[in-house]
Symmetry: C2
Subunit: 230 residues, 2 copies
């Protein structure tokens, strides 16, 4: 029985004020996406990694692999126009048994402990979705007003979001709905009850230059995550 990681990286560099898509920006000399891929390979060497990229980035990825002597085996899949389409295409390459974790390519700093814990909890409970409590107050904003919400009732949701393979593949056999913001929302629509588990503050999503700065520092301070990649 195989487990799978569907790693989705369709971003552009727009919010980064960079011509380079954010998944290819360098973190301690290595592209963000390679860190991400390596985290899965390192913690679960038998995992099958499905990497969903825009078709026009395949060649660049292969060049980067040559440049960095990066030899972790991944299956490249052409992304769609939306995250939903991209995940759906990635899932088509996975089998029907084992656990599939769907992960943002620009979250390179998750620990191996988080990965193995999520796959293990998903095996036991059907799914596992990492989350964090909020440390700031929260407001809901409308078109011309806003009001406070009780932050203790909310969780910030991270990835990898892990599900039984057969269930998740079936769940994605639907038309896109506007409330499909992540895999948990798709699984829920198909009847799953989402099992939230504690995530990691360091498992941040790199979307701004500030995030990249933070990630660089965190990596410097974590020799384990900086270990030479193959």
């Amino acid at each position: 029985m195989n487990n799978y990681a569907v790693i989705v990286a369709g971003g552009s560099g727009s919010r980064m004020q960079s011509a380079i898509p954010k998944q290819f920006l360098l973190l301690e000399g290595l592209p963000v996406l390679m860190h991400t891929v390596y985290r899965f390979y390192e913690s679960m060497p038998d995992i099958r990694i499905i990497l969903v990229l825009p078709a026009d980035q395949f060649h660049y990825w292969e060049e980067l692999c040559a440049t960095h002597s990066f030899r972790v085996p991944v299956q490249l899949v052409q992304g769609g126009n939306t995250r939903f389409d991209s995940v759906k295409r990635g899932l088509e390459k996975a089998g029907n048994t084992g656990i599939i974790g769907v992960h943002d390519g620009v979250r390179p700093l998750l620990s191996g402990e988080l990965i193995t814990r999520l796959y293990s909890e998903a095996t036991e409970k059907g799914n596992a979705v990492p989350c964090l409590e909020l440390s700031d107050s929260l407001r809901r904003v409308g078109s011309d007003s806003n009001h406070p919400e009780d932050r203790s009732c909310y969780r910030l949701i991270q990835t990898p979001q892990c599900f039984g393979a057969g269930f998740l593949k079936a769940a994605y056999q639907v038309d896109f709905q506007s409330f499909f913001t992540d895999d948990a929302s798709v699984a829920e629509h198909a009847g799953a009850r989402i099992h939230l588990v504690p995530g990691e503050a360091s498992n941040l999503k790199i979307t701004t230059p500030f995030d990249l700065e933070i990630a660089g520092v965190l990596l410097k301070n974590r020799p384990l995550l900086r270990r030479k990649v193959l």
Copy 2:
């Protein structure tokens, strides 16, 4: 006409796994709270700084000021049992004109630009509250279920939260309500319409060892904020 900063620091070290209250942990050799106080002094030298501390920390603060030759003038006020009580006591020392910004003592990395912009917007609009968009998905959790929320409808709320002095002092003349999670919620209860303005990702609240690590690095990378304090 004076402007005021009511800086509230009542935290213990519990979430930090530290015996030292988090406001006194060292950031680049200087206690977190001194960085915070200095940010206001540096960007608005005429501001009156009211520092609300637990009474049993007054002596320690004074020792720290001596140790670090920290001479920014602050008025010490004894904190209450809750944040609401502490702010209320701080406000009693402020005048009725000008702008009062209420700030978390453990947010030491805000820029001078943010401070002056907030006081300026509050002068113009009556209040100004800094906020950030969410980069993670959001779920609302109940006792035995959870469901997704549209993150674009929410904002994470920071401090300093700035209000006309007379208005805020009057707004705090109420009994505590469970939905008073910050100053904006108190002001709103008194009839204010909250004016949200963009905050800063680096204006983080230090509540965990991870936050302290991030703050340390950010400070290292920002010579302007590292400048010798007096």
